[in-house]
């Protein structure tokens, strides 16, 4: 699947997803659990702000010196017998990987979860060659069997499906005849995929963090699938976004500590694996051939721009779990494999404003994402900056933006517009609301409320806002 996951208009997606009751309750309960666990782990670790500051300084340093570290990484991969291919575009990356699949005469390819391979639409490129491509992460596997449904959450891709739906998908597509118990479903997938690991010619992974000093790649999972994907097939291909790199094991450790806590509320996930080059002489398991594909695909254009901080992202989805808009509309509404606040910032940068210009408006600019981010990306400021760029480019503000600008930025010149635009802010503002005024607001409201109280948003919901918004024009 490419980065763009839907050709539907934005407001159609919103309307459709708001009808999906299971998804909406699954999303809100998942958000709560993810959030609670993350906060518990941060509390238990202690000095969380200092950890975030350290995470941020590491990521910033790496981006400022990215060419140096990528050079060092590629030298070290090569020293350990691995091949490195620098791909400027998605096409260059998929062409190269196709050429390996052809050379290896690969009939079957096993994959562990990777956002960047989704972004470059790798599976389709390999399927064009006649390869069978099998996603081995449980959530990704479910979506693949369900006719390639798009993921709705960066960390929990099948969050929008319930166990009965999953049972039915397996039943319909594969003749599964057991119950909807999650353990039974998982055991079924375990047994089904075992043989695939053993017979696949190629294993493909993403990369959580490459380590420059040793030429290693780090994979973070709970299921152990990435380990089987890399231990058993004779050829391993790892695809990494060019910014996913750290200087040494010491920084890798810090970022992994932030990632696992922020993503799933675990001190570490079950399997953190660092792989270096091809297998050693005499080793039984591990690849005989290793290819590292380093992908730009629009990232370098972000470097040096005011959006550079988004490249600090470590894909933990803490911002997704904190976002009140995501909570209302779920992941599919974003129409991108990158959903939630990170998706709002990243999708227009990598995929262009034409396809994703509504996304910066799928935000209350409340700043909950910024507070949750373990590497301190100023997400809500970047979202706001996108809106400014869109206005500058188009010469006029889309109506929806006027609403928000008036409401949050320029004051309530029209009470109706103000009311509409602020309805969706209720759940976020409620902790700060007292007697219907906000006196200590977060994020962008802070400057305002330092000087005066802000009238509290009405306790209505996003649906009303959406209804008004689609009436107001800006149909795409």
């Amino acid at each position: 699947m490419a980065m763009k996951t839907s050709d539907d208009r934005f407001h159609h997606r919103v309307t459709k997803e708001l009808e999906n009751q299971f998804m909406r309750s699954a999303v809100s309960s998942a958000q709560e659990r993810f959030q609670t666990r993350r906060l518990q782990q941060a509390e238990e670790l202690g000095h969380w702000e200092e950890w975030r500051a350290h995470g941020e300084e590491i990521r910033k340093h790496v981006l400022e010196n990215l060419d140096y570290y990528l050079y060092q990484l590629s030298e070290n991969v090569s020293k350990r017998g691995g091949h490195v291919f620098f791909a400027q575009t998605a096409q260059e990356a998929t062409d190269y990987i196709q050429s390996i699949a052809k050379k290896k005469d690969a009939a079957k390819i096993v994959k562990s979860k990777s956002m960047v391979t989704e972004e470059i639409n790798l599976n389709v490129a390999l399927e064009e060659l006649g390869c069978e491509v099998i996603e081995t992460d449980l959530g990704e596997y479910i979506l693949q069997v369900a006719d390639h449904e798009p993921p709705s959450h960066i960390v929990a891709p099948a969050l929008h499906k319930n166990k009965e739906q999953i049972r039915d998908v397996f039943k319909e597509k594969q003749g599964y005849d057991q119950t909807e118990k999650p353990e039974e479903l998982a055991l079924y997938v375990r047994e089904k995929l075992r043989n695939d690991y053993l017979t696949a010619e190629i294993g493909i992974t993403g990369c959580n963090f490459a380590i420059a000093e040793s030429g290693s790649i780090t994979l973070v999972t709970n299921e152990g699938n990435a380990d089987l994907v890399t231990a058993l097939p004779k050829t391993q291909i790892t695809v990494m976004g060019m910014e996913r790199i750290v200087p040494t094991f010491e920084e890798m450790e810090v970022l992994v500590s932030l990632l696992t806590r922020s993503a799933v509320g675990q001190k570490l996930t079950s399997y953190i694996t660092t792989l270096t080059g091809i297998k050693d002489e005499g080793d039984t398991d591990g690849p005989e051939e290793f290819h590292l594909v380093i992908v730009d695909n629009g990232r370098s254009a972000i470097l040096g721009s005011e959006f550079q901080p988004i490249l600090q992202c470590i894909r933990c989805a803490a911002c997704v779990n904190a976002c009140p808009v995501y909570r209302h509309v779920g992941g599919h509404t974003y129409g991108s494999i990158y959903s939630g606040p990170v998706g709002v910032v990243l999708s227009p940068l990598l995929g262009g404003y034409d396809d994703f210009k509504e996304l910066p408006y799928a935000s209350t600019l409340c700043g909950a994402c910024t507070d949750a981010c373990p590497v301190k990306i100023p997400l809500h400021q970047l979202i706001h900056r996108h809106r400014q760029v869109i206005v500058e480019n188009e010469g006029k503000a889309p109506v929806s933006e006027k609403l928000l600008m008036k409401a949050f930025g320029l004051g309530a010149s029209s009470p109706t517009l103000y009311k509409m635009a602020t309805k969706m802010a209720t759940p976020v503002m409620s902790p700060f609301t007292k007697d219907n005024t906000i006196s200590n607001g977060p994020g962008p409201l802070k400057a305002w409320t330092e000087a005066r109280d802000f009238p509290a948003p009405n306790k209505d919901n996003f649906r009303d806002w959406m209804k008004h918004r689609t009436k107001g024009g800006d149909h795409k």
Partner: protein, 238 residues
């Protein structure tokens, strides 16, 4: 044999250009303003670290046994029995002998119908076949992280990666001397090794309990692609 590197120069030049400078070929090791990781369990004694490890095992669905070389055979036997015996695969590792396990592994098990397979660098296909059908895999932790309950394994020709992934049950022996506060100490140790110019294992596994997933309705399932059950046995006098 060194690998090929393709299209590096233009790719990195473009990055430097975007950053508004010429390519960087030298960079001193950065000094960080923050180092919060050193504070975690900073002054903990070994005993305290064992207690932390024990407590963490409850969070990671891992059974933990505190043992020593005098009773290790007995303790290992009872874990193997609990796991239903049948077949065991181990690394080829002198330490099993040092821990007093030779008699149990090479004499007692064969006599009691527990099949033992020792990893054999000369028998590559057989290694995988055996690991795939073994009920239990036994490995040894090189560095153990108390905070997270993590065993660190280094692969080699005698220490196959598959032993800790393919069998349904995993037993990891943990010499008490290997226990450190957290991943910080392990990462530093590996980094220092790299800086001395030494080669690191092609695969380093940080393993924290059995495999699991919450991909279906956020309900925790223990046992997905890797092991379904895991036990750590701490050896107090090693």
């Amino acid at each position: 044999m060194t690998g090929r590197i393709q299209h590096r120069e233009t790719f990195l030049l473009n990055i430097a250009k975007q950053l508004g400078r010429s390519p960087k070929t030298e960079l001193p090791r950065p000094t960080w303003q923050y180092q919060p990781q050193d504070r975690v369990l900073k002054d903990a004694t070994k005993e305290e670290l064992v207690a932390v490890l024990k407590k963490q095992c409850a969070n990671i669905h891992t059974h933990i046994v505190i043992s020593d070389t005098a009773k290790l055979s007995q303790d290992l036997q009872s874990v193997v029995d609990n796991y239903g015996g049948k077949s065991v695969i181990t690394w080829k590792d002198e330490r099993f002998k040092d821990y007093g396990l030779s008699q149990l592994m090479t004499e007692h098990w064969p006599q009691t119908n527990i099949e033992l397979y020792e990893w054999n660098a000369q028998q590559q296909e057989e290694n995988i076949r055996q690991a795939e059908k073994a009920n239990i895999g036994i490995t040894i932790s090189e560095i153990t992280l108390a905070e997270s309950g993590t065993a660190v394994l280094f692969s080699s020709k005698d220490k196959g990666r598959s032993i800790s992934f393919l069998p349904e049950k995993s037993i990891i022996l943990i010499p008490k001397s290997t226990i450190v506060p957290r991943m910080t100490q392990a990462a530093r140790w590996i980094s220092e090794k790299i800086r001395r110019g030494e080669k690191i294992a092609s695969c380093i596994n940080f393993i924290t309990g059995p495999s699991n997933s919450a991909d279906i309705e956020m309900i925790l399932i223990v046992g997905v692609h890797g092991p379904i059950q895991a036990t750590y046995i701490v050896i107090e006098d090693r």
